[in-house]
Amino acid sequence: MRRVSRAERADIRFTLNGRAVAAAAEPRMLLSDFLRDALGATGTHVGCEHGICGCCTVLIDGAACRACLTFAVQVEGRTVATVESLAEDGKLNKLQQAFQDHHALQCGFCTPGILMSFTDFLGRIPDPSESQVRDVLSGHLCRCTGYDGLIRAVLAAARHHRDEKAP
């Protein structure tokens, strides 16, 4: 049984983007703040702190979740992935490249959360319909793009993946 009292700053250890990390947090510290302030992973953004805008979406054990509705202490021993895990050696992955190709971002504030949602989703449903993409994208608010470029980017990334895998 894990017990942390309110004034205690517990040592939180988990895997972040493939590396073991540790930092201190009191129980009420939100994962969104913990990632940004304690671990310097500022790619994850905070837009509402009530779970609606989706800017803070990260992967916990591979599943897209709101970091603003999660406490740091809840990810002890877990695997967390944020947007910083996607590019390799400065090379954009297929999904990120598709976002650039299709002008799927403008101010970029909502972008990391959307990338993480689709990293999860495309892993489960590699060949989604437009309606499925729209459904998942509806868990995010974007003020800049009008969503059209985002949908095309995700479908293009899925198509690319499908074409690559085709014999």
């Binding site: 609606i52 190709d101 971002l105 403008q106 101010c107 009008g146």
Partner: protein
């Protein structure tokens, strides 16, 4: 469809992918909250009023000050002691400081600030601040606020209607007298905001040694507000160093209204003796950041029986909330010169009334007066058609400004640069587009379903004349104060000793891709690659070239900043051409820039590398022509002459460029849910030359969804006591991807003759056109006159409901 004339360009006008994207996609954006701060920085949290209107009897912060990690609690008395009230365009006694002084006037108004070791502790302590309020009656409806006997928001003004100005152009009275008919409509534009995903962030510090302030904030401009902040802080401009970040998470006008918080955090830093960081949260933002003004317009037309508009008369009552914050009442005047829209109407009478209520103060917002104007004007045009038994499209066509009239001087002074409105309309409805929507309507109606078609014709101004607000003064007052006009854009192109090009400019970006477009412009001019141009748009008022017009607002980038960069690049090019001509022993006219080389056009082998020529200016000034100064740093200054001060007769050219947007749509009302569902939407744009069509399309689509949101989803709702009901993203309904209908975008191009690049401001247009177009379609679907926006299912149900089936 796009009939862009073939531009003889390599980069400009091409859909170049954005250079900003890589960093943002990798999570390496540099938003203010991401930036490192000094180790001694403290966190701030604002205590806000729960009441819409109350006298502050006392503030007891004893318990808060004693709480863990708390360094200070700052109240209105500190603000009054250390700052002067903000300058405001309307000269009435309605002082505003960064914190409430004496009374609170809207729910969410800042009352105190807690400074603590971190935000969590600051919020804990904020709950311990006890404020004793004596509530007063609140007034939220603008008509009620303007009526005699209303509770006064600022008793010293003696009224809530703090500005009332009447204007007359041409001879409206005669036109009304000779008209075949008079058609009038009263329209209300609702109160909403475009809530960027990133809220306000301020990091402020104070240097006791010289009394100066240093602030980093996601402020968007206009930088005419810099002196407002400096005056409030009682320092000369150079002692308020304001820096903007590399990345900003959207603004849409909203991040003008951060300025009172900049002043607040600056004095907080001064009082606590350490830097202070404030990150606004979503609840605060919805409640108190900023809002567009709501407006009640009664507009009347004098018409001939075949639908020709002879005169227009407007009565505008615009609600600015509890305070006028600079540069309000901007929305009431930004469109002034273009208040006749796309129509050739010579006779206009306007009464502009500005009223205060117990609601959050209004500020800059995308569209900025255009949505309010066009909802009224385009609903009126629709009503003219209905009243006279004509097709709305025919009425629009009958009144459009003819192509041969450009540049066209509108009745109230707008100088429309270029356009071919009739052709744009013809192309938009052509190719069977309108016919397809009409067929959908016919089918729906045959099946007993409600389906309407709406139109909207909008003239979209770009780049404001900084004198536009002075139209509000009488011409005598303007004479006394001295003329105000113009708009200066500044950009600097520098080339280092190794030939690397860097650009800075006065338009901080919030997602519009300015860095990419500036690189396109400069690389085009200098014959080099995009990757050879580095752009930095982090503004530092202590070091950059800026004017009061600086900032990103009112679509000034394409007609303004982009031109300044082009001029700077030309200046640099001219210098390099002289140096190269000298070295290649050819005439300067023979010099061309291509492929990273500077060479003789007639003998291309006679060439030098760009970098070598640039190096000459740095390393070998002895080789320069005798009249040339060494080094390569040129600032382009663009100050177009068309932006003159208001004339004695109150005519004012409020903007430099005028684009054209023509929309039509089909809307069906769901028989079960009463939702208005956009079935088809076509939007035709003429923004002159497009500097980057990829970015332009993104802007149009973004504006489309914001216009859709205003028409159908978003509204700041207040109850009668001034209580704010739209306090979370569960109540304030920003559309998601599932709410967005398909949009077909079309373009024609009438380059602006008023700028060397021919590119007009683009990106506010659909905020102006979409609410009007959808409202017209709903009016057509339901056969009604009053379409209250947002046209929610609840509102439409109330219209359609009829008698309830009894038990």
């Amino acid at each position: 469809m796009d009939d862009h004339p073939a531009l003889d360009t390599r980069l400009l006008g091409k859909p170049v992918p954005r250079s900003e994207d890589r960093a943002l996609l990798m999570g390496h954006g540099r938003y203010v909250d991401d930036l490192p701060v000094s180790r001694d920085t403290l966190s701030a949290h604002v205590v806000r009023s729960p009441h819409a209107h109350a006298v502050i009897r006392g503030i007891d912060a004893t318990a808060a000050r004693a709480a863990a990690g708390v360094h200070a609690v700052i109240t209105g008395e500190d603000a009054r002691r250390l700052t002067d009230p903000f300058l405001v365009a309307v000269k009435q006694p309605l002082p505003q400081w960064a914190l409430a002084v004496g009374r609170v006037r809207y729910v969410g108004e800042p009352v105190a600030v807690v400074i603590a070791d971190d935000r969590y502790l600051a919020e804990d302590a904020a709950e311990l601040v006890t404020v004793e309020y004596e509530t007063l009656p609140a007034v939220v409806d603008p008509r009620a606020a303007a009526a005699p006997g209303a509770t006064l928001i600022h008793p010293d003004c003696g009224t809530n209607e703090v500005s009332n100005r009447h204007f007359r152009y041409g001879d409206p009275e005669s036109a009304f007298a000779r008209a075949d008919a008079r058609v009038a409509i009263t329209v209300e534009y609702p109160r909403n905001s475009f809530t960027p995903l990133e809220c306000f962030v301020v990091v402020a510090s104070h240097a006791p040694a010289d009394g100066s302030y240093d602030v980093v904030a996601n402020f968007q401009g206009p930088f005419s507000i810099h002196p407002v902040m400096a005056r409030a802080l009682r320092v000369p401009g150079p002692k308020l160093r304001l820096r903007t970040p590399a990345s900003s998470g959207g603004s849409f006008g909203i991040k003008l209204s951060i300025f009172p918080y900049i002043v607040l955090m600056a004095i907080a830093a001064r009082l606590v003796g350490r830097p202070v960081k404030w990150v606004e949260d979503r609840l605060e933002h919805l409640q108190a950041a900023s809002s567009g003004p709501n407006r009640v317009s009664t507009v009347e037309a004098a018409v001939t029986r075949d639908g020709r508009i002879l005169a227009l008369s407007y009565d505008n009552l615009e609600d600015y909330g509890a305070f006028l914050r600079a540069p309000m009442p901007g929305p009431l005047y930004r469109m002034h010169g273009a208040m006749t829209g796309a129509y050739d109407v010579a006779n206009v009478a306007v009464t502009n009334r500005c009223v205060l209520t117990n609601k959050m103060p209004a500020g800059l917002i995308r569209g900025f007066g255009g949505p309010q104007l066009y909802l009224a004007l385009e609903r009126l045009v629709h009503k003219i058609a209905v009243t006279l038994g004509l097709d709305p499209l025919a009425v629009i066509r009958r009144n459009l400004i003819p192509a041969a009239s450009f540049p066209y001087r509108a009745a109230a002074g707008g100088l429309y640069d270029s356009g071919d409105y009739a052709r744009a309309v013809d192309l938009a409805v052509g190719d069977g587009r309108l016919a397809a929507v009409q067929q959908r309507q016919a089918q729906a109606r045959a099946a007993g379903r409600r389906y309407g078609i709406g139109f909207a014709a909008v003239v979209e101004p770009g780049m404001s004349n900084m004198g536009y607000l002075s139209t509000m003064l009488t011409s005598e007052a303007r004479e006394r104060a001295g003329p105000k006009n113009g708009a200066v854009s500044l950009a600097t192109v520098a080339i280092d000793p190794l030939g690397a090009v860097s650009v800075t400019a006065d338009a901080p970006p919030q997602g519009q891709g300015h860095a990419t477009v500036l690189a396109q412009i400069v690389a085009e001019e200098l014959g080099i690659g995009l990757d050879d141009v580095a752009v930095n748009l982090e503004i530092d008022t202590a070091k950059d070239a800026w004017s009061i017009a600086a900032g990103t607002y009112s679509c000034r980038f394409s007609p303004g900043t982009a031109v300044a960069a082009h001029l700077a690049a030309r200046q640099v090019r001219a210098k390099l051409a002289s140096i190269a001509a000298n070295q290649l022993n050819v005439l300067k006219d023979d010099i061309e820039f291509a492929g990273g080389k500077i060479r003789s056009r007639s003998n291309p082998d006679n060439a030098l590398s760009f970098t070598r020529v640039a190096g000459t200016a740095h390393w070998s000034p002895v080789l320069l022509p005798s009249d040339m100064a060494p080094a390569l740093r040129e600032t382009g200054v663009w100050s177009p002459p068309e932006l003159e001060p208001p004339a004695r007769d109150d005519r004012i050219n409020t903007s430099l460029t005028y684009g054209f947007v023509f929309d039509f749509c089909g809307v069906e009302i769901d028989p079960v849910t009463c939702e208005a569902r956009v079935d088809r939407y076509v939007s035709m744009h003429d923004a002159g030359n497009l500097l980057n069509p990829l970015i332009a399309e993104g802007q149009v689509r973004g504006a489309f969804v914001q216009g859709l949101a205003a028409a159908l989803y978003e509204e700041f709702v207040y109850d009668e006591a001034g209580g704010f009901l739209s306090g979370t993203f569960a109540d304030y309904l920003v559309p998601t991807a599932s709410e967005v209908p398909p949009l077909e975008i079309l373009h024609i191009h009438s380059p602006s003759p008023f700028t060397p690049l021919g590119a007009k401001g683009l990106a506010e247009g659909n905020c102006m056109s979409v609410p009007a177009c959808i409202a017209n379609a709903i009016a057509d679907a339901l056969g009604i006159e009053t379409v209250t926006l947002p046209a929610t299912p609840r509102r439409l149900h109330a219209i359609l409901a009829g008698v309830e089936p009894p038990r």
